[in-house]
């Protein structure tokens, strides 16, 4: 992926959304998870300068922000593909062929789980149980669940991503 500049600032809209989140908690730190979701929606990942900006808003040290980023699976400390495709590989899904589906997507996209396609289009990954165990195999593209898939449907799904 080309070395894009590291994001640093938050838009006015993101800032006011974060402010509204802070009001929901007795201590504003409670809104840190929400703020990270908002910042990531805007920039796609949490760069060190962006963590610094957030730390200033929350009056904590940048390292405290980065600790939270690294603790949770849904925050990224490096640039990501335009789309995330995550296949659930926990036991109920594996029993119904999830790992075969993940392998098929790996060779279809030419990347291993955890990697991004060279054109920056898709980051492929596997995930633990997503609460769709009866509708396996399944994957999520960003926030959208796709359930009861077979390998061909899964390939068509990733091909349709811009």
């Amino acid at each position: 992926m080309s070395a894009a500049a590291e994001p640093k600032d938050l838009s006015k809209e993101s800032l006011s959304r974060i402010e509204r989140e802070m009001e929901k908690f007795p201590q504003k730190r409670g809104a840190l998870l929400a703020a990270l979701h908002i910042a990531q929606e805007e920039h796609g990942w949490i760069s060190p300068p962006l963590a610094k900006t957030l730390a200033a808003l929350f009056e904590i040290a940048p390292i405290e922000v980065m600790e939270v980023v690294s603790f949770y699976n849904m925050y990224y400390d490096r640039p990501q593909g335009r789309h995330h495709v995550y296949v659930c590989t926990n036991l109920p899904c594996s029993l119904r062929g999830a790992r075969g589906m993940l392998r098929a997507l790996e060779s279809h996209l030419g990347v291993r789980a955890g990697e991004t396609t060279p054109d920056g289009r898709v980051t492929l990954g596997h995930e633990e149980c997503l609460g769709a165990c009866a509708y396996a195999p399944m994957l999520r593209v960003g926030e959208i669940y796709h359930e009861n898939l077979d390998v061909d449907q899964a390939k068509r799904l990733v091909d349709a991503l811009e």
């Binding site: 929901k24 939270v68 109920p92 119904r96 790992r99 392998r103 633990e128 165990c133 009866a134």
Partner: protein
């Protein structure tokens, strides 16, 4: 993209086929919010907690603690704010019932929360939903907004003496945030590392304030108990485990899905009569009865009523009611590899036994699966699992040890065959 109504419904899910039930008008048209009004206007808070306690409602988040009793632990009066937390982190592999309850019955959940707020004196509820449940979060936020605009949340709810706020908080992908004190840390904007107990949340909870944590399903039962009474609730389920629950069935069955059935329904009835049994005439090999943390049962033990008092006799537990069925092709060492990988990945790392133990178990299991294991490895596995039990900050470590112990208890032959043949002897098993 949302879930449909379950295959078998009862009071919790009876209106779930009806889209209108998820919206405030449809909910109110079907008698919604009347139970909350009844509790707040006709019952004292203590009386409300005691009714739910006497009904015998057990927490549905996995541990099965008596809900009404937990409410009575909250301090009465005092000038500190008190909070409720709705645990909507649902991440136990094999569990997807809370997702259904939020997507199709968000107002039923909010009504249960209001009644619990009345019983405990809580001024605010934080609903902590796992970050991946975007659609459920959307449904719930819409329901919260509707409830505010129609006076079912906010100041003087329905014109009564109760004022209550509800805030939806999205997690960000960490299984351990389902453990109630890990959740509290996460709510405070920190890493979700569980706290030492005591102090318990009723004394020192969210932001240091008295807090009660209950599961989504637990709250959802409450309006029905208020409406129909404790005798009615006790007429369903078993003597010690009243009411229904929503069983999730996954793995090798013809009709995987959700089934709302009374507690105490036999496991084999759920698998064979409701979920249609194993496809293509194959046989069952083993079943995890309550979400992946609970020990497996072999095919010969499926005549067990699904309630803790019976499952304990077979060294397992109800957990979240997530039933994972494995057919005769399944390699139980592979199952162990998948299970132990999950726990290794999700340990928060605070306790040595848990951090190291989950890693060791996964390593040994993978070695056995590759055909490079020894007989001593089986003893080491049991030894490591034994040391992980009962000695850590939270129950995650026990939950990581139990499934491995269960696999060795009932399927030791599978493990020994790998060691003897120096390869996996189950070529038809699911792919690893």
């Amino acid at each position: 993209m949302g879930l449909k109504a379950p295959y078998v419904t009862n009071y919790l899910t009876q209106h779930f086929a009806d889209d209108a039930f998820g919206h405030v008008d449809g909910y109110v048209a079907r008698g919604g919010y009347e139970a909350a009004r009844q509790a707040i206007t006709r019952m004292a808070p203590e009386e409300t907690a005691i009714l739910v306690k006497d009904a015998g409602l057990q927490g549905r988040g996995g541990a099965g603690f008596a809900a009404g009793l937990k409410w009575t632990f909250m301090p009465r009066g005092g000038d500190k704010p008190k909070y409720l937390v709705c645990n909507a982190d649902e991440s136990e592999p094999g569990s997807f019932k809370d997702r259904l309850l939020m997507e199709r019955g968000p107002h039923q959940l909010l009504e249960g929360i209001l009644i619990a707020a009345w019983a405990t004196g809580a001024e605010k509820t934080f609903i902590y939903i796992r970050g991946e449940y975007a659609f459920a979060a959307q449904q719930l936020q819409r329901a919260i907004d509707e409830a505010y605009s129609r006076g079912y949340l906010g100041n003087r709810v329905m014109g009564t003496a109760l004022s209550h706020d509800a805030v939806l908080v999205r997690g960000a992908g960490a299984y351990i945030c389902g453990e109630e004190t890990g959740l509290l840390e996460s709510l405070e904007g920190k890493k979700g590392q569980p706290r030492k107990k005591p102090p318990f949340p009723a004394q020192y909870g969210a932001f240091g304030m008295p807090t009660t944590v209950n599961n989504v399903e637990t709250f959802s039962h409450v309006p029905h108990i208020i409406k129909h009474g404790k005798e009615w609730f006790r007429s369903l389920g078993t003597e010690k485990s009243p009411g229904t629950t929503i069983f999730g069935v996954s793995g090798h069955v013809v009709r995987p899905g959700l089934y709302e059935l009374p507690l105490g329904t036999k496991l084999d009835e759920i698998i064979f009569e409701h979920a249609g049994g194993v496809p293509d005439g194959r046989k069952v090999k083993g079943v995890i009865p309550g979400g992946m943390s609970m020990p497996i049962l072999p095919a010969g033990q499926l005549d067990v009523p699904m309630a803790n008092e019976f499952l304990r006799e077979r060294k397992s537990m109800l957990g979240t009611g997530g039933i994972i069925v494995m057919d005769e092709t399944t390699c139980m060492v592979r199952a162990g590899c998948v299970i132990s990988y999950f726990f290794r990945d999700e340990s928060c790392g605070q306790c040595t036994q848990c951090r190291e133990g989950t890693g060791w178990m996964n390593k040994i299991l993978q070695r056995i699966e590759r055909g490079a294991g020894t007989r001593e490895d089986l003893d080491v596995l049991l030894d490591v699992a034994g040391k992980m039990e009962g000695a850590t900050i939270c129950a995650f470590s026990d939950a990581a040890a139990w499934p491995v112990q269960g696999l060795l208890r009932h399927f030791r032959d599978d493990f020994e065959a790998h060691v003897r043949e120096k390869k996996c002897p189950f070529p038809a098993s699911f792919e690893l």
